[in-house]
């Protein structure tokens, strides 16, 4: 990986974040993202992202014997994916530490 990889797309970030708690089905990812961030994704976005992530090696399809057959196969975060998520989270928290952002967060008219 190069020294400054480009930021992840928001969709990919949210999908990885959803999977960081453990393997989920595509439908579960959709629901988790919606609960976490209010982002209403559709199947095309979720499965498109999952497939690209699988191709990149960040996500692996796993068998889920206990799960609901109707939900299909489950997806799990691979070590490389967890690393990418960690880096992205660092990048964002780094941003949040910057003076301008903190001023923005504390400004009363924005807070209200």
């Amino acid at each position: 990986m190069t020294d400054a990889p480009a930021p992840l797309t928001p969709v990919v970030f949210h999908v990885l974040l959803a999977l960081s708690g453990g393997p989920l089905h595509g439908y579960g990812v959709m629901k988790r993202v919606e609960e976490d961030s209010g982002l209403a994704m559709g199947p095309g976005t979720v499965y498109g992202a999952l497939q690209r992530l699988a191709d990149t090696g960040w996500v692996a399809e796993v068998d889920d014997d206990a799960g609901d057959a109707r939900r299909g196969r489950a997806f799990a975060l691979a070590p490389a994916g967890r690393e990418a998520l960690r880096r992205e989270a660092e990048r964002i928290t780094g941003l949040a530490r910057r003076e301008e952002v903190r001023a923005l967060l504390l400004a009363p008219e924005v807070r209200g």
């Binding site: 480009a6 992840l8 797309t9 595509g26 199947p43 499965y47 690209r52 990149t56």
Partner: protein, 873 residues
């Protein structure tokens, strides 16, 4: 409805998955379709049809988004991978459609018209049934049913805001003529709950409710404009009004606010809103977020039971009814039937377009064969055809959207009148919003894909060699012929079903038009009169007033006769109540309690069949009497003489005693059946006004034919008797009667128009197919003719071939008509769903015209010069 929508959207979504790369479809396509359905089903459980529509919109937005990339600033996207892309396909499709303008115009016109119909109906369905009422957080607004003894202040555990009200008629007096204004005594949260905001001043304050509340009022924009001339300094001004709450003397109210011109409420009682003084049970409220509906119903039930205490109340169950369900209960079936009919028309139009496409694609077999021979396969062949279908459908959608945009604002007033309920939020609510546009676009995409798949089906079956060998004539294999037969047959069957439904409605409308009203409405005018308790405290004073009013109005020049009646036909909506007759016969489930002046029967030209009408001697001191309608008499005393028998209302509500049986009355006369409202004959029990005088009656008078309108004279006659009694809501009885019949007439005309359009399309489709088949078989016909076959034999040949299709579709269509008729049952008056005249008539009409559509092109073929045809080849 919900399941149908889910199934349709799921099917469309499955097709739309084609937009994604093949690799994604192969690996996850099935799961994606499965999840799309799961999304809609979950939304349906939470929010019903509205949730499904929202989920469908979410799927549509998702389809429009590109497949997400992993990193934000990746390498520039490759242009499409190998081969011609969608742009090429669109360009090819556009060229191909331009080359064939007649086909393009026909398909866009037919499908566009059907889509436009659907857009208009969808907009109405959306305005009434789908879009929430224009109240804040309307999905959590519920009415409490039944109303209990639980007060509006005691339900904080259930409702965020709870309200109660008491409807009232305010007679505003002072300068000028008295005005009657519909209003209500309301609790302070009423305004916030229903989102009624003032343009001037404020609404009511919490401390203004309850005992000894201030006499302040919020008035409607209409009252402000009409009564107070839009006075900008209205705030703080006072007005005097009589109310039924305090009928003894006029009360003075101070205006503290004026509602906006677009304030909308589900009833019209918003002209004067004043603080509620008495402690009242809760009527409605907005549920707390943390209380689910079932829990709320349990809580309310236990509150009500605790309040009642005694044993019978333990069966009491308190329920909640959504405001929208309550408002639209009556219009829902009619709207949904119309929507189904519009959808049938769309199906027929699509089948029609499919037939045209098939006929055209058969002619293009050579073009497709050349493309295949040159190596185009799968996607390369399919893309331009699918693109053609999509272009056609989008053209149709554009036409439909344009028509909807242009027509909806014009239609709003008519729709309100015909549907029978004001549009929620005012006439502007009938508009093309995102929901309607999305559904319409989604539908047209499905239609477009279907139109593209039809020729693809044909192309996939043809072998290049055979098509090329056949030259320009094109060959049609058995599969394509079957598809064509199926489409035409389906069209015919569906249009017969629609035709049957429309026929039933037309017969029903004709039945209502021809109904004997039981009285003569010609020249009759009706207006409501309201009396004040203080001035007319007892029956004697009211009877004296009404007697004087009848006498004075009868003397006005131009008036042929006047009377007084409580529930004027077609004007008042009185409740029917069960009646029992003395002597054991079955009680009647519902008769109209009616109160009339003795002059009623003479003035309205109601013949007395047996016994007598009322006379001035039927007063409060004499025996209680009644005149009843024929059918009611037969029901209560079958085969016996009703005169002299006694009857009473089983249950009469009474504000003070809580209700009980009414007084026994002796039948003194029988009159014919009477149509008073709802377009139905209603059993009536007439009572003389001198024995049941009320404060609110209607004045009815007949205008002498050719006389100048005596309106001012009538008003003056009333004012001379009582200057403070309002006279309001004056209408002509003929207008009221025809307005009451308008919905059924309109509905019949609407479905009739749908059916006529569908019928025409089906015939055109059939004609096109046969004409094409005839053209293809010109050579065969020519050889037969050359060998000595006569024209008649050739025509019979084609008729015989079409007969199976026509017969099958007549059978199917008749069965479909039976189903549609069953769905229409509630809308039908005086005609059964299986009416033989309509069913047989429709079938014969369809069969005859269908065979004509076959025979015309066949005759053409049999007249051609055989040698000329053979030489052409």
């Amino acid at each position: 409805m919900r399941r149908l929508t889910i199934a349709l959207v799921a099917a469309a979504y499955r097709l739309a998955l084609l937009r994604y790369p093949r690799s994604l479809r192969l690996r996850h396509g099935r799961q994606m379709a499965e999840d799309a359905r799961a999304l809609m089903e979950e939304a349906a459980r939470g929010q019903g049809l509205r949730g499904v529509v929202r989920a469908a919109a979410r799927l549509a937005r998702d389809l429009a988004r590109p497949v997400p990339r992993v990193r934000q600033a990746g390498a520039p996207r490759r242009a499409s991978s190998g081969g011609p892309g969608m742009g090429f396909a669109l360009a090819t499709a556009g060229r191909s459609l331009r080359r064939d303008p007649r086909f393009t115009v026909a398909v866009v016109g037919v499908v566009g018209t059907a889509l436009a119909l659907n857009a208009l109906v969808l907009a109405a369905v959306n305005a009434y049934l789908v879009r929430p009422l224009p109240y804040p957080e309307a999905d959590r607004l519920f009415d409490v049913r039944p109303v209990t003894d639980v007060g509006w202040r005691e339900v904080g555990d259930v409702f965020e805001k709870a309200v109660s009200w008491d409807l009232d008629a305010f007679t505003v007096v002072g300068e000028g003529a008295p005005d009657l204004a519909w209003g209500a005594w309301v609790t302070p949260d009423f305004f916030e709950l229903y989102g009624l905001r003032p343009v001037l001043g404020r609404t009511l304050l919490p401390e203004e409710a309850g005992d000894g509340a201030a006499a302040v009022a919020v008035i409607s924009h209409r009252l402000w404009r009409d009564r107070f001339g839009g006075d900008p300094s209205i705030l703080g001004r006072t007005f005097r009004a009589f109310t039924s709450d305090r009928p003894d003397d006029a009360e003075t109210f101070t205006v503290v606010g004026v509602l906006g011109p677009d304030a909308w409420h589900f009833n019209r009682f918003t002209d004067v809103l004043v603080p509620l003084r008495a402690d009242q049970p809760v009527y409605a409220g907005r549920l707390r977020r943390d209380v689910p509906r079932e829990r709320a119903e349990e809580l309310l039930t236990s509150l009500a039971r605790a309040r009642a205490g005694d044993a019978p109340a333990q069966d009491l169950r308190v329920g909640l009814r959504g405001v929208q369900d309550a408002y639209t209960a009556r219009v829902r079936p009619r709207l949904l039937v119309t929507l189904s009919a519009a959808f049938l028309v769309l199906l027929i139009a699509c089948a029609n377009a499919g037939v045209l496409t098939l006929v055209r694609s058969a002619g293009r077999a050579r073009e497709l064969a050349v493309r295949r021979a040159l190596g185009a396969g799968g996607a390369g062949l399919a893309a331009p055809l699918l693109a053609e279908g999509l272009l056609l459908a989008l053209g149709a959608a554009a036409l439909a959207l344009g028509a909807a945009l242009a027509l909806l604002p014009v239609l709003a007033a008519a729709v309100q009148a015909r549907v029978g309920a004001p549009l929620p939020g005012g006439p502007g609510a009938l508009r093309l919003d995102a929901t309607v546009a999305l559904v319409l676009l989604g539908t047209s995409v499905v239609v477009g894909l279907a139109l593209g798949l039809v020729p693809l089906h044909a192309a996939a079956r043809a072998t290049p060699g055979a098509s090329l060998a056949a030259g320009g004539r094109g060959v049609t294999d058995a599969g394509t012929r079957r598809l064509r037969g199926l489409l035409v047959g389906g069209e015919l069957a569906l249009s017969l079903a629609l035709l049957t439904g429309a026929g039933l409605l037309v017969r029903s409308a004709l039945h209502l038009e021809g109904l004997e009203l039981g009285f003569d409405p010609a020249g009759m005018e009706v207006a409501n009169v309201g009396l004040r308790q203080a001035r007319y405290p007892d029956d004697a004073s009211r009877v004296a007033f009404y007697d004087a009013l009848v006498e004075e109005v009868s003397r006005v020049p131009g008036v042929a006769g006047a009377t007084v009646v409580r529930a004027a036909p077609f004007v008042s909506n009185a409740t029917l109540r069960p009646v029992e007759g003395e002597g054991g016969a079955l009680p009647h489930e519902g008769a109209l309690p009616q109160v009339v002046h003795p002059s009623f029967f003479g003035v309205l030209d109601v013949p007395v069949l047996r016994g007598r009408a009322f006379t001035p001697e039927d007063g409060s001191g004499s025996v209680a009497v009644a005149v009843i309608t024929e059918e009611l008499a037969r029901h209560l005393w079958p085969g016996e003489d009703p005169l002299g028998r006694r009857l009473r209302f089983v249950e009469v509500p009474n504000a003070t005693s809580g209700g009980g049986p009414g007084a026994w009355r002796t039948v003194v006369g029988v009159v014919p059946e009477m149509v008073t409202s709802l377009g139905e004959e209603t059993p009536v029990v007439f009572e003389p006004h001198a024995q049941s005088a009320g404060l609110w009656m209607s004045l009815a008078y007949r205008v002498r034919p050719g006389a100048p309108p005596p309106r001012d004279g009538v008003t003056a006659a009333l004012r001379a008797l009582d200057a403070e009694a309002p006279l309001y809501g004056r209408v002509s009885l003929e207008d009221a009667a025809s307005a009451a019949l308008a919905p059924s007439r309109f509905f019949a005309a609407l479905l009739g128009a749908f059916a006529a359009f569908a019928f025409l399309l089906a015939l055109v489709g059939l004609y096109a197919v046969v004409a094409y088949a005839v053209r293809q078989q010109r050579k065969e016909v020519a050889i037969r003719m050359a060998l000595g076959a006569r024209g008649g034999a050739v025509q019979r040949l084609f008729l015989r071939r079409a007969l199976a299709t026509v017969a099958a579709s007549v059978a199917l269509g008749a069965a479909g008509g039976r189903v549609l008729g069953g769905a229409l049952q509630d809308q039908l008056h005086g005609v059964e769903p299986g009416d033989p005249l309509v069913v047989l008539g429709g079938a014969v009409l369809l069969a005859a015209t269908a065979l004509l559509a076959v025979w015309l092109p066949a005759r053409e073929a049999s007249r051609a010069d055989p040698m000329g045809v053979l030489r052409e080849e």
